[in-house]
Structure formats: structure tokens, C-alpha cells
């Protein structure tokens, strides 16, 4: 049994409450270096024991589960492995004008990075086309440091 004693309004206690995360999260040694690379305008991958270069880098080899080796820098240019035309961009997506989602295989990488290509029209898109990264001027170490990829001339 408990007793309830009514309180007058001026005897009610109150305390501030702020909903927040009172810690900073580390993204870890592999992703952290990849994001730091983006901040510096470079794209880093990681080499597996079998010699494949994973971009974006992973902390383990998805084929074998083995730990990965050294970080390696790859090119900021590459080719489109697949694409899809977004004629009506949705809120929060990288560009407000129509663009292509694309899996981009950078030169020196064996896997593809998901990002967007600012091509203006689906007529300018095709699988295998060459693209180059466009970086933001002010970079913060996030995937959005890459504004998009842009079409470039063949062989470039």
C-alpha cells in the first residue's frame, strides 16, 4: 500500500531535459580514413589479401571474411557500371535537377561506388561511359563531399 500526498503547484519539482546523444561516434579505422580522404579530395580503397581493391573500403573481405590490408589511393575517374535515370529527384537526394544514380567503378578499383552522375539527360548516359568526380569546395569528411560525377570524354 502507498500513500499519495497532493502537492501544491509551487512545490512541484522540475528539471531540464534535453534529448541528445552525449557522445561522438567513431567511424573506425577503415571508413574513417576513407572519409578523411574525401575531405582531402582523394578517394581511398583497401586491398584484400587476394589483391582486389575495394572502393568504398570495407573492414573485412566480403568474400572470405578475412581482415583487409593496406589502404590504397585510386583514381577520381572511372566508368559507369550501371545507371538509372531519376527524372523527378526526391527531397534530400544529391541534385535537385534530373540526374542518374550510378555504380561507378573507379580506375584502380575492383568494386563500384554508389553515387550520382550529373548528365543533364538520359541520352548522355550509357553503361561503360567515363566519368570524373566533382568535389565540393568546402569538405567535411562525409560522402556528400562528392557533389556528383560528371561525364568526361572517352579515354580521359
Amino acid at each position: 500500500m502507498f500513500y499519495f500526498s497532493p502537492m501544491s503547484p509551487d512545490s512541484v519539482l522540475s528539471a531540464p531535459y534535453v534529448l541528445e546523444y552525449t557522445y561522438r561516434r567513431s567511424v573506425g579505422p577503415v571508413l574513417g580514413r576513407f572519409l578523411a580522404g574525401l575531405r582531402d579530395g582523394r578517394i581511398l580503397g583497401v586491398a584484400t589479401r587476394a589483391g582486389r581493391v575495394l572502393v568504398p573500403p570495407q573492414e573485412y573481405d566480403p568474400e572470405t571474411g578475412e581482415a583487409v590490408g593496406e589502404m590504397v589511393e585510386v583514381s577520381t575517374r572511372g566508368e559507369v557500371a550501371s545507371w538509372a535515370w531519376m527524372s523527378e529527384p526526391r527531397p534530400g537526394q544529391p541534385l535537385e535537377r534530373p540526374f542518374a544514380w550510378a555504380l561507378v567503378k573507379l580506375d584502380g578499383a575492383d568494386t563500384a561506388l554508389l553515387h550520382v552522375v550529373d548528365a543533364g539527360s538520359p541520352a548522355r548516359m550509357r553503361t561503360g561511359m567515363r566519368v570524373a568526380a566533382r568535389f565540393r569546395d568546402e569538405r567535411k569528411g562525409t560522402i556528400q563531399d562528392l557533389v556528383c560525377f560528371e561525364p568526361v570524354a572517352e579515354g580521359a
Binding site: 550501371s82 538509372a84 526526391r90 544529391p94 544514380w101 567503378k105 561506388l113 554508389l114 560522402i143
Partner: protein
């Protein structure tokens, strides 16, 4: 392995938006129907497990509310997976392998209409490198479709024919949402939604729920004249990174099919959980189905696609069809994650 059979299945007809009922209220009639049809008293069910996602209603632990529809007093032994109900069935099957309980209630529910489902599904992606870009479920599926088209594995016409067949077959399924006869020529005249996908290549947005009762061998034979046994069940997953995977193949489906024993005997029909048309081609090929094997007589996920329900519904539809005598052996498949990342294969055999 201990023999386990599906003894009953019930589903709510899928709708674009249930304006009136909450998840719990939607579940109530299907749970009652499945338990009543099982011939097993509710108090005798040894285990209860559900599949759903809190992200649809944006409320943590929302599945706990759904237990009001089950009735959790006197206390029951219960579990939940934040996955399609097909994985809840897998957990129930494993639970029955322990041997100390003989039956289980499995259910799934999803009110996809509560938010913007294309944006909700973005939340399941890599939170550092992919989700911040905001790719939606249709765009990611379109990237996969392009890979298949580029390789000549399918054509836009074959995809349109899959869409047309699914909605046409759904006309015979009173629980299906999109039910009409619209030919491929008509569909191909429509503009792209996210090229190379047109609207018809995509699933509808659906609210729905389903429930199933499973029982171990002797009990199943006692309560059912034609129990549908789970002859094999397995699930496998691929890497999280979309660019790490070969989107033009489904190795996880192939491995699960091998482990589940799909190829051991003739398959009378298959229920494939392919929300997008091109994914039926990928899964069909990875399952190793013989040419001409009927696929999705229910209309499949292209006809109704309540999130977290559509996979378990494939297994339930296949079991119901076998129980009704339309075949002896069927394969049911469920998928989870973007671009068929995770796949479950279940082989069902009716034994009178």
C-alpha cells in the same frame, strides 16, 4: 530433422490504405482465422513469433502493441524479428526442432501507407556512405534491372509480360490488391518511372497482415487431412555494399535453394517474392526451376506488397494451394534488403 508442417494460413486482403484500423486491429481477424483453421487450441500453441518493422509507423517496439491481438495472458513464449514474416517462420521452425513444443503461431503485419515507403526503406542502407545520398527503393531496383538488361538476361518486354501476368493471375486471388488484365503492349507505351523501370515494374504500396500455424509431424497429421510439410528451408545473405555485389546474379538464392533441396524432385509451381519484375527473372534462374514451371499463381508481390508480409504470404499461398490439392510439391521464396540482398527458400510437400 523433425518433421514440421504448415497446417493453416490466413491473410487480410491487401489494400492501398487501411484508413480505419491500426496494425493490431488488422491482425486480430487473421490471427483468429489461422488459429481456428489449425484445429489447435490457442492455449496449446507452444510458441508465437512475428515479423514486422518499427520503421513503418516510426514507433520503437511497435510490435509489442501487436501482442494485444494475440492475447499474452496467461504468459506466452514469444519472439519477434525485424524482418519479413518468412524469417519469423524460420525461427518457429528452428524452435520446433528443439522438440519440447509441437506447434507455433507465426504472423506478419505491415501498414506501408503510414509514411513514404520509398524513403522508409532508405533507412535500411549503409548509414555512412549510402543512406545520406537518399537513394530510394525504386532507384536501387532500377540499377539492378539495368545490369540484367545490359547482359541480355531479360528485356523490357519480358519484364512487362511478368507484370501483366502477375496482375492477371491476381484476378483469381481475392486477397490481391492489383487485379486487372492489361497487356504488355499497353504497359510498354507508358513512360519510365526511374529508367529502365516503368510503374508496372514496381510493386503497389500495400497495407496487410497474415498468419500461419505450424505443427510437428504427429500433431500435424492429427489436425490436418493434408498437412503441407516443410521439406527444406534455408536463408542466405550477401554483402551490404551494393557495389560489392554482382547485382546480375543471386548467389544467396542459389545457395539457399541448394540447401533446401529444390532440385531433389519435380517442382509443381513456385511462389517467388519479387517486388520488381526483373527480380523474378533473377530468382527464377537462381532457384534452377525447370522452364515452364508456373510462377506466382497468386499474383505475387507485384499484385500486393505489404512490407514484411509479402514474403510469408508467398509461403502461405503455396501451402494453401498444395493443401487444396493443386500440386504435391512447391517452392516458396522470400527476400529482404535492397536488390535481393537476403533470400529464403522453402520447399513444401503435401502429404495426405
Amino acid at each position: 530433422m523433425r518433421e514440421v508442417a504448415i497446417v493453416s494460413f490466413a491473410q487480410l486482403p491487401a489494400v492501398r490504405r487501411d484508413h480505419v484500423r491500426e496494425d493490431t486491429e488488422m491482425l486480430l481477424p487473421v490471427l483468429h482465422e489461422a488459429v481456428a483453421a489449425s484445429g489447435i487450441a490457442k492455449k496449446d500453441l507452444g510458441f508465437t513469433v512475428s515479423g514486422s518493422t518499427d520503421y513503418l509507423c516510426g514507433r520503437p517496439f511497435s510490435f509489442v502493441m501487436a501482442l494485444d491481438a494475440v492475447g499474452a495472458f496467461p504468459p506466452i513464449s514469444e519472439s519477434h524479428v525485424e524482418m519479413d514474416g518468412a524469417w519469423a517462420l524460420y525461427e518457429a521452425w528452428v524452435r520446433l526442432q528443439h522438440g519440447d513444443v509441437d506447434s507455433a503461431l507465426v504472423y506478419a503485419f505491415g501498414k506501408s501507407s503510414l509514411g513514404d515507403v520509398r524513403a522508409v526503406l532508405t533507412q535500411q542502407l549503409d548509414p555512412y556512405l549510402v543512406a545520406p545520398l537518399g537513394p530510394d527503393s525504386v532507384s536501387l531496383a532500377a540499377l539492378q534491372a539495368r545490369v540484367l538488361l545490359d547482359r541480355g538476361r531479360t528485356t523490357e518486354r519480358e519484364m512487362a509480360e511478368i507484370a501483366a501476368r502477375s496482375r492477371r493471375d491476381a484476378m483469381r486471388n481475392p486477397s490481391a490488391q492489383l487485379r486487372f488484365d492489361r497487356g504488355a503492349d499497353l504497359l510498354l507505351a507508358e513512360p519510365y518511372l526511374v529508367e529502365p523501370l516503368r510503374r508496372h515494374d514496381c510493386p503497389p504500396i500495400s497495407d496487410g497482415a497474415c498468419a500461419m500455424v505450424i505443427a510437428a509431424g504427429d500433431l500435424a497429421r492429427r489436425v490436418s487431412r493434408r498437412p503441407v510439410f516443410i521439406a527444406g528451408i534455408d536463408h542466405r545473405i550477401e554483402a551490404q555494399g551494393l557495389g560489392l555485389r554482382d547485382l546480375g546474379d543471386s548467389p544467396s538464392t542459389r545457395l539457399a535453394a541448394e540447401r533446401a533441396g529444390v532440385a531433389r524432385a519435380k517442382v509443381d509451381f513456385a511462389e517467388i517474392h519479387a517486388p520488381f519484375t526483373h527480380q523474378e527473372v533473377l530468382v527464377r534462374d537462381a532457384l534452377g526451376l525447370a522452364p515452364g514451371t508456373p510462377i506466382n499463381p497468386s499474383g505475387g508481390a507485384l499484385a500486393s506488397n505489404p512490407v514484411m508480409v509479402a514474403g510469408l504470404t508467398r509461403i502461405g499461398e503455396a501451402a494453401a494451394r498444395l493443401q487444396a490439392g493443386d500440386g504435391e510439391r512447391a517452392v516458396a521464396h522470400a527476400t529482404s534488403g535492397p536488390c535481393l540482398q537476403q533470400n529464403l527458400v522453402c520447399v513444401l510437400e503435401a502429404r495426405s
